[in-house]
Symmetry: C2
């Protein structure tokens, strides 16, 4: 597919020299922190802790926590201060995947090349594992500290709003209700903004807040997160149509089979690619004021645009 | 049934004069606060907010929030300060009922005399409504303030621990895994402690903390909450066996039909009643140090022991 190659021309060419090494380093730190925050797998009742860890350590790309840490760095903050918030966001993301995969929702058997949680542990435990990860997310977030400009309360409510019934859950509801129906481009944008942009945007905003960012920096991070989040979902739609199941680690072509509204279905594949590039460029533009300090954020946005799974 | 009449003899006779009026007053205040905290039913997407409110305002007895407020009062605190914590606990309780009633869990069609959430809104929306109420609970709890002796962080983590994978969710897992199997009295106590005692105990502890209680008062409230919570569940088991579905507002005899472990099934009905009375008496004893200031807590414990639904 050409999204990547085309985007190279259009994108601001500012990736760090060793993106993969950077990502590997961050992923290792995030995995280490998640392992520290989560109860050990042998904690009784073992089933639930095994189920929580099964999905949390199933090979997720750690995009959201990496963005959170990179946003903190861009504002002069530290990885340690942002880490509880980054981990809380990853737990929320994972819970939402477990519940989305349930038979009553998207009914998926595979995720990241592995059986989905309910296929391994059964529906009852999968529901509870999602509930437990959501609860754990707030326990972890409560271990973060406020910064001079942003109280712990402000940050926690930032998280509950992004995960709540007007954002993340609203997106899932609209997605569920739109299945098999004719959905307009405007409605689809509504779904994507909530299902994907909200938590991604929250990740970078919380990273910035943990570093006591200025109001201008927060506005820039918000624009960056919003546009990267939307681009991320447009690309997900494109990949579902253009890639194989083996490559994606989940059932490809499922959107079309389920008559789900997607960008390619509504505006076509080529126009979808143009939209993803335009959104990513807007994300780059939002970072201008950081004068090079946001190289990791730029690189992550580019990585998301160019990914093939 | 004789639990009520027998208990009158054994119980410390310290109910406030007008318990029903007291309860009605508290219930009205709690309902008003919940209505204030929850997004209006017309908030988009309306389905999810209607589903959340359907179960939250389905006629629950508001036992947990009432206990939270009464504990705050016993320690010289105010209803207003404890209210966000009380409401957060009721949201957590309601989410756990919605998920417990799902076909993959207890598969119940009725709750409080009304159709269960998934029977009205479908399984997908019911799962999301539970998720949304759990998220909302932490949003509401984050609106509480710490007291001089207890930080907001301490209180939030008290809540996440009680609702998490080692307490509330652990109880549900053990319950699920014990179905149809031979369960010992010890295992049953483990389940009841987690499924019911944990959140009840958390309710009174948080009420005390919001009022900046002493360490002695917190220990007393913990013992009170633990014993009342366990008594509450033993009585639930008894009522499932002895009352009609119409009276309970849910399917009676379901525990036996599902071969669920219950106190009557393991130790018999009479001994179960003695256990409930003994636990309630222990709860009364825990309140001795409050010297009359805990009249509302005593009255609530007695109400729970004597209830017939």
């Amino acid at each position: 597919m050409s999204v990547g190659s085309n985007s190279v021309r259009m994108a601001r060419p500012a990736p760090p020299k060793e993106l993969q090494a950077y990502l590997d380093d961050r992923t290792a730190a995030i995995n280490h922190a998640l392992d520290h925050f989560l109860p050990p797998a042998r904690t009784k009742p073992a089933t639930i802790h095994q189920a929580m860890r099964y999905s949390l350590f199933a090979g997720g790309k750690r995009i959201r926590p990496a963005l959170c840490l990179a946003a903190a760095e861009a504002c002069g903050g530290s990885q340690d201060t942002a880490m509880p918030l980054a981990c809380a966001i990853e737990c929320i993301h994972t819970y939402s995947l477990i519940h989305d995969d349930l038979p009553a929702m998207d009914d998926d058997d595979y995720r990241r090349g592995k059986l989905t949680n309910h296929k391994v542990f059964g529906e009852g435990i999968a529901i509870l594992a999602g509930d437990a990860l959501l609860t754990e997310a707030f326990d972890i977030a409560a271990q973060s500290q406020g910064s001079p400009g942003y109280s712990q309360q402000t940050m926690l409510r930032e998280l509950t709003k992004a995960a709540g019934s007007s954002q993340l859950i609203a997106g899932q509801v609209a997605d569920l209700e739109g299945e098999g129906k004719s959905v307009s481009a405007r409605q689809l944008k509504y779904i994507h903004e909530r299902k994907t942009s909200a938590l991604l945007c929250c990740a970078v905003r919380l990273g910035g807040m943990s570093a006591d960012c200025t109001a201008g920096q927060l506005a820039a991070l918000t624009s960056f997160g919003y546009n990267v989040g939307l681009a991320f979902q447009v690309i997900d739609d494109i990949l579902d149509l253009t890639q194989t199941s083996a490559r994606l680690g989940k059932t490809a072509g499922k959107d079309r089979a389920a008559k789900k509204a997607t960008y390619p279905a509504i505006v076509g594949l080529d126009h979808s690619r143009r939209i993803a590039r335009r959104l990513t460029n807007r994300a780059y533009e939002a970072l201008v004021g950081f004068k090079g300090k946001a190289a990791a954020l730029e690189a992550l946005a580019r990585y998301l645009l160019e990914r093939d799974r």
